[in-house]
Symmetry: C2
């Protein structure tokens, strides 16, 4: 990190958990990430899902075309299903890795958006996990047990995480968008093959911000933001510079109507504000010198990718978050952020 | 209770906590209650509030005019503020009681809809509580400490409840819309001057029904529905026939746009479904014989009102809850209820 008066420059950051959807929405939201981040791991829960090698190639083309910044490097995960062991071998996993396909994403059935085709029984996936372990493909997990009470779903999933980690000691595993004290502790206690992504909104919010005042569907996500104690546990490891915890925004745009509804979708569209809002948070915590490792260091190391040599500059120049971007209400819409990202190509 | 095949008749029930708002919305929603319930205690958090003896008379006229059933007897609460001790004496409290003004409603500042003018310091209300105690006016409390974490607000209020009950041993106090295990236990442990109302939605729902699947703003209320353990505590005392816990719907209509919004209002419009849905619930719990005491016995006794001599008949005749009533989405909209209320004047 380089700091001058009124600006800081950090290695160009990575977002290790990002949803960009499909079609016109994808075209509109990819630049929000590509103008700030050097790489982003794009989630595969589209309709139909990104499941096969051919799906990854097709989706990769769509995402690259939408990034106006040609140096932006999208990374991909295939969506794990009961069919995945037929589609993927250690060999084609290695081949796909060359084109940025670095992870398989596991969704328990019914855990979140477009996960009705998710996995019921992880034991049946052991041949796939074996191939992934051999190929060096990361297992990225939405770690919630959907049958549990909503606030307990992540904690209820942890025994499965512990078991997979024990059964595949060389498989690299990321518990995505970690949200609870229990999960922070479990990830901390497991070997260094197990890490976690942390979102901006889980670092900022608790249930007070979702249902404590008026109900705020634009702050609604899975896993749920939780209690102050849960948020404090996240802040402690993140602001403390624990390398097992790195940034993944889980930015997930839904059109306004799908949120402001009798039955609103889960997902927080944080990509447009992620880096400046993180700078605010880290600064308030007296940890601004840890921002670079969290966003541009630990994640790249875990994924065995080179740390970026490019930089992104943050200016101490307040801006008001727009009320709407491409029909989607961004996270923190209408609020004023202290830091902004120096302009660049989208 | 009288039960025949496919129907049951109970004493005409009372709703000891009801919001009917003002103007055209009031005119539309009052009949939803008056066609089923014999009495309802109407809450005073209108704009401006129902605060003075003159306000009560005016509001009473408006509510009575809207009830198409002339036997419906609205009861009223004045809204407690720092000015209440000037407006109310034991004498005019007694006079107002003759016209149905049976309670004063205490809202901590900021606790719910239209409570920005609520009370900060209950100690300053002691002269009022003294007058209410002498006049036999019930103190109805929205028992939440707004500064606490949202799920802890009710528990955080309980020490204040305990103190008021100790300082005014003859003042009758109702902790409204009780929602937590801690509050159930505290009310249970206090003298019989302290009781609680219980809503339909707190008996039915947990956070799973609000934010466990898609986010459901029409199920959003204050206090929040909470955990399965909290709901079980409510069910235990209600299905067990504890006379300290009686029905108050807290039915609170908001226009659809105020709910399906970036910042949705708190309030569940349950009046149109309350009695049939309670019958469903009590039946499933094997406690149908307790429905009458909960809805038409304990509350009247606590308020020292005669138990109704009229009856309401429930038919085992399924119906689908409408999607919309006067621009408001009712609780359980679209679902099929096993029981329906025999038709009568609104």
């Amino acid at each position: 990190m380089e700091a001058r008066e009124h600006e800081i420059s950090i290695r160009r950051p990575d977002d290790f958990h990002l949803h960009v959807r499909q079609g016109p929405l994808l075209a509109a939201v990819v630049p929000e990430t590509s103008r700030v981040f050097g790489r982003a791991l794009i989630m595969p829960n589209t309709l139909p899902p990104v499941a096969s090698p051919a799906d990854v190639r097709r989706y990769s083309g769509e995402v690259r075309a939408a990034a106006r910044n040609q140096e932006f490097e999208p990374l991909f995960a295939f969506k794990i299903s009961d069919r995945s062991a037929e589609l993927w071998s250690a060999e084609n996993l290695r081949e796909a890795a060359v084109e940025g396909m670095v992870a398989g994403k596991l969704y328990p059935e019914g855990a979140t958006t477009n996960s009705d085709d998710g996995v019921r029984n992880t034991d049946e996936l052991y041949p796939l996990f074996e191939a992934m372990q051999r190929a060096g493909t990361v297992l990225a997990i939405h770690g919630e047990e959907p049958a549990a009470f909503c606030l307990d779903r992540e904690a209820a999933f942890l025994p499965r995480l512990v078991r997979i980690a024990a059964d595949f000691p060389r498989l690299q595993i990321v518990l995505e968008h970690v949200s609870s004290k229990e999960a922070v502790e479990t990830v901390g206690s497991l070997p260094e093959t197990v890490a976690a992504t942390v979102t901006l909104h889980h670092l900022m919010h608790t249930l007070d911000d979702l249902i404590g005042g008026l109900i705020a569907p634009h702050n609604f996500c899975k896993p749920l933001v939780k209690t102050p104690a849960d948020r404090d546990a996240l802040r402690e490891v993140v602001f403390g510079g624990d390398p097992k915890f790195f940034f993944g925004s889980d930015s997930a745009p839904h059109p306004r109507d799908a949120k402001e509804s009798a039955h609103g979708s889960a997902g927080v569209f944080s990509a447009p504000v992620a880096l400046p809002a993180l700078a605010d948070l880290f600064e308030k915590a007296g940890a601004l010198d840890r921002l670079e490792e969290f966003t541009a260091g630990f994640g790249a190391d875990f994924y065995r990718l080179p740390r970026s040599r490019a930089t992104t500059t943050l200016l101490e120049s307040p801006w008001v978050v727009p009320a709407d971007i491409a029909g989607v209400v961004p996270f923190l819409a209408g609020s004023t952020l202290r830091w902004s990202v120096s302009a660049g190509p989208g």
